[in-house]
């Protein structure tokens, strides 16, 4: 049981493919995840919006990391946030010698060395020999410790130094203008990249291009043969030979296998633990170290349309509020489905779903149409999630909630399918395709209504049928039917608009074919006849078109008009917006 809304991505809005096409599911999302671009007047989803990172923060210490530091910190928290190598919980810093001597208050003073302790699984960094002098800046302390100790790190540093000297050799000259670069330059493709990097960094990148061009020039000047190639490097002498480490004989592997043998399968670190680790990969659990916690981001989202690019979401870095929030929930009516009822078999109709021919179905449908008018059909409420049965007729209620401060008018249809679709498993009847929804009001107005409700109980007036009428209401017919307090009547009546004047307070509860209204919610019925021998998932698309009042001609896309301006006699204009929802009703058992 779910209702999802279609996003046609960058296409012009169109009816999506029918549910029988699995590929159509990618354009459906729940309403709360959709955005709305006012400029393009269309729905946008997470798949199509353009995102930019607005800010980075550490999810553990909630520190806002300046984006300039993020790369140097390798996208992880550079303060004291580490995750447990066993359970990935954030580690807490604990002073180690709290309860060494007695229980006196003085001896319980926390002091160094500090360790990282996991509050989830009680893992302690003592196990890997990590102890710290200060309780702050653990990552920095660790970096110092590691750069001194780690053999691989020192090797890497040596290599970096070696390459640095090479780069600095070539930098002192002023950057060679790219125009002088000869096309026969062997490093053309590389110099291209360097050139781009230079542009990106706004400074000269020492290295390939400058070096090669300079080299070439000097070579031609001196009339010498080009001896030093553009990629020629001095020889690097590694600090430690791999031969010394015993890699030749594979003794490391043998050791590892021995360890695995000794520890059993539990000693082996799980794959997801090893993914996050760097190149130095030991497979053992005891070798896995705490990792700095990866940073999280706040995203800015933009309309993907190349001519639009308007901001849809702009987060505030400090609070949870958004500076700009253009979400579809503020523009499109919320569609909900509920109140499932199964039609009880009429004694007159012979129930034999096995031998149902198309004639029978036709007859039954006629029957249903006839009965809907006069004789109440016996129906039974059913849980919404129970499996459906083939050959039964179900009726649902579909509720639409108006998010706008103006009444809107709805047209509910089944989308016209241009594509070939397999014959459906059911027949869907929408008895009330046209109806209106009242405007969204301030919260206090609803509270008032609820109070009225409490007084009156369920205000079930004989409903009026809006069936098949486009603009039904005539102004001024709205009589306060609620017997309770008539407070707010005047203000409500004074707000006469073409769409829904006077009916604001009618809680019409016409069960058959009518519209049930309450506040800014209208409910209508849907009838679903599952064909016999149907199987599988029942889902269908609905096309919903709503007509709203655009404020004035100046801002045609402005939708959230204020109710006060309706009295100010602005030039009224009506606009349509069409969207598609997919309703998943359930499985046929």
């Amino acid at each position: 049981m779910s209702i999802t809304y279609s996003c046609s991505h960058l296409d012009t809005p169109h009816a999506p493919l029918p549910p029988s096409y699995p590929s159509s599911s990618s354009s459906y999302h729940s309403l709360d995840k959709l955005y709305f671009c006012e400029e393009c007047d269309s729905v946008r989803c997470d798949l199509c919006v353009a995102t930019e990172i607005a800010s980075y923060f550490c999810p553990n210490c909630l520190f806002d990391v300046p984006s300039a530091n993020v790369r140097a910190d390798r996208n992880r928290c550079a303060r004291s946030c580490f995750s447990c190598p066993i359970c990935e919980t954030g580690l807490s810093i604990t002073a180690s010698d709290t309860s060494q001597k007695g229980t006196g208050s003085t001896s319980a003073q926390a002091g160094p060395p500090y360790t990282l302790v996991c509050s989830g699984c009680k893992w302690s960094s003592k196990e890997v020999g990590w102890q710290f002098e200060k309780p702050t800046g653990i990552a920095l302390q660790l970096q110092k410790m590691n750069t001194q100790a780690d053999l691989v790190q020192s090797e890497f540093d040596a290599l970096k130094d070696h390459l640095d000297s090479y780069i600095s050799l070539s930098t002192p000259t002023t950057s060679a203008p790219s125009s002088t670069r000869s096309t026969r330059n062997p490093s053309r493709h590389i110099s291209h990249i360097t050139h781009m990097a230079q542009k990106a960094l706004h400074r000269e990148v020492g290295g390939m291009v400058a070096y090669s061009v300079r080299n070439k020039r000097s070579a031609t000047k001196d009339g010498q043969d080009v001896k030093v190639g553009w990629d020629e490097l001095g020889e690097y002498e590694p600090k430690e030979s791999w031969r010394k480490a015993g890699l030749e004989r594979g003794s490391q592997e043998v050791d590892a296998l021995r360890e695995i043998n000794a520890s059993g399968s539990e000693g082996l670190a799980r794959l997801e633990k090893r993914w996050a680790k760097s190149y130095d990969g030991s497979k053992m659990t005891r070798d896995s170290l705490p990792q700095r916690i990866p940073l999280q981001t706040k995203l800015t989202k933009r309309c993907p349309h190349p001519n639009c690019r308007h901001l849809l979401i702009q987060p505030d870095t400090k609070t949870v509020r958004m500076k700009i929030k253009m979400v579809a929930a503020n523009y499109l009516p919320l569609v909900e489905i509920g109140r499932r009822r199964r039609r009880l078999p009429n004694s007159e109709i012979i129930e034999s779903p096995d031998q149902m021919s198309s004639e029978d179905i036709e007859r039954r449908r006629r029957e249903r149409r006839r009965t809907r008018g006069g004789i109440p059909v016996r129906e039974e409420d059913e849980p919404l999630n129970a499996p459906l049965k083939a050959g039964e007729v179900y009726s649902y209620q579909i509720a639409l909630t108006n998010p706008l401060y103006d009444p809107i008018q709805i047209r509910l249809t089944q989308p016209h399918q241009t594509h070939k679709a397999p014959s459906p498993k059911f027949h869907l009847v929408i008895p009330t395709p046209h109806f209106t929804i009242n405007a969204l009001k301030d919260a206090w107005a609803y509270d008032e209504e609820d109070e009225e409700d409490d007084l009156v109980g369920v205000g079930s007036e004989a409903g009026f049928s809006e069936e098949g009428t486009a603009i039904t209401s005539t102004t001024g017919t709205g009589t306060e039917t609620a017997t309770g307090s008539g407070q707010g009547t005047l203000s409500r009546k004074s707000r006469l608009s073409i769409l829904s004047s006077g009916k604001n307070d009618r809680r019409a509860k016409d069960r058959e074919g009518g519209v049930e209204k309450r506040g800014n919610v209208s409910k209508v019925n849907l009838e679903l006849e599952i064909l016999p021998e149907a199987k599988g998932q029942v889902e269908f698309d609905l096309e919903i078109r709503y007509t709203y009042r655009a404020e004035d001609l100046g801002t045609p896309t402005e939708k959230e008009g204020k109710t006060s301006s309706s009295e100010a006699k602005t030039k009224e204009e009506y606009k349509n917006f069409t969207f598609w929802v997919r309703v998943k009703v359930g499985h046929i058992s």
């Binding site: 709360d32 923060f57 909630l62 919980t89 208050s105 509050s119 999280q296 949870v320 929030k325 909630t401």
Partner: protein
């Protein structure tokens, strides 16, 4: 929102309604009631336990549990202030719960702070001094170890709890509407 959500009824007389609209079950165990502040329109359901008596040991008035508006403490959930050794003495610290916080049944909450618009699913254990920022979801059956920080707009699940997802930007409205709707639907039969 919630056009088809059914009423949640309770037997008349089993809940006490305060002036500010709080609905407190007579069968909820509330100790140290003078140390508990309810913001109004909050629901404390049957079988839940609020330990207001676990107060700071020093003299004077201390607020132990403070709760905002439109909160829900589900059936059988326990709110217990966190405590720890500080300078050699064991002390309890207050629990601050903001507005629009739903705590589903059978949870154990020892958090230090729960921000507004937080939903905690069934059977969760929220460890001592956990800080939950505004707008977060803790999935059912999650265990958050001591001192975990749950940032805004995140979804946590598992044992031990991990960040598993982020929330859509509309979540604030969704959650507020949900909490209000729940309060409205929770009435005597």
């Amino acid at each position: 929102m919630g056009a088809f959500d059914p009423l949640i009824t309770y037997e008349k007389g089993t809940y006490i309604e305060t002036d500010t609209g709080n609905k407190v079950s007579r069968k909820a165990t509330i100790t140290g009631a003078t140390n508990i502040i309810l913001g109004g329109k909050s629901i404390i359901q049957t079988g839940s336990i609020l330990r207001g008596d676990l107060r700071r040991s020093t003299a004077g008035q201390h607020v132990v549990i403070s709760m905002g508006r439109y909160c829900l403490i589900g059936e059988g959930s326990i709110i217990r202030p966190p405590g720890k050794l500080y300078k050699g003495a064991f002390t309890f610290y207050p629990v601050r719960i903001s507005d629009f916080v739903h705590i589903q049944p059978n949870c154990i909450i020892e958090a230090g702070q729960i921000g507004s618009g937080v939903e905690i699913g069934e059977n969760c254990i929220i460890g001592k001094f956990v800080i939950t920022k505004d707008l977060a979801v803790i999935l059912p059956n999650t265990v958050l170890p001591e001192g975990t920080v749950v940032p805004s707009m995140s979804v946590w699940g598992g044992n031990p709890g991990k960040l598993v997802d982020t929330l859509p930007e509309t979540y604030q409205e969704t959650m507020e509407a949900k909490c209000k709707s729940y309060y409205q639907r929770f009435r005597a039969s």
